[in-house]
Symmetry: C2
Subunit: 112 residues, 2 copies
Amino acid sequence: MKFDKELIKGGTTMLILNLLSTGDMYGYQMVRELEKRSDNIFTLKEGTMYPILHSLESRGMVEAYWEDSDSGRKRKYYHITSKGKRLLNEKKKEWKIYSNTVNRVIGGAHLA
Amino acid sequence: MKFDKELIKGGTTMLILNLLSTGDMYGYQMVRELEKRSDNIFTLKEGTMYPILHSLESRGMVEAYWEDSDSGRKRKYYHITSKGKRLLNEKKKEWKIYSNTVNRVIGGAHLA
DNA sequence: ATCAATACATAGATTAAGGAGGTATAATTG
DNA sequence: CAATTATACCTCCTTAATCTATGTATTGAT
């Protein structure tokens, strides 16, 4: 299914950008956060997340920086850029169109 | 992104089954119908639809029969079975969970 | 007569996402 | 203290969904 142009294509990207829009985070934290915020409905897989994060970085949507935690453990934090915020807004718009249309089509009272 | 079990996986299948739940249809007609019902947002590609239709048939979700149109042209109609209706209902439930969760996560008023 | 529309179909390419595995350190538990 | 679990990063390969491209054949319109 294609939606006019490029609708949806990568809903995970939207969720990742959305997480980062609420504050800088590191990868491992994002997995837990999304689980928490979705009441364990969504499970972000590392094999899915890290490639997306690296792709977003190379496209200038996020910026990464290393920081030490209290325990001396290294963490790679990601920060959403203004370009990334624009992408997020686009994706949200697309999601609205997509989900509203699905709901209309499947829920709709259409008489033959 | 995976949703607990098998959520969503093939939203196109849901839309196709949904179309058939409103009456028997032939492939070519379904393409036009979905376009119409979605105000041209969804474009069902034949290369996507036919394989799905054949898979649904082999799994007993739909049944096919040939019929001649007025113009003598052959049409292959599809009819949703009760098994197919059950599958449709499951898919709709999954869609509700999925879309509600996305909306909660991205729209949600979460304070850090 | 030619072109667009109707109507079916498949093969191969593309892409998103997941599964499985790998490295390394810190915290917990027996 | 040793073993396990949790933290934290990463990549390669596969699977599955979908699209692109193509093919056949008939009918209707110009």
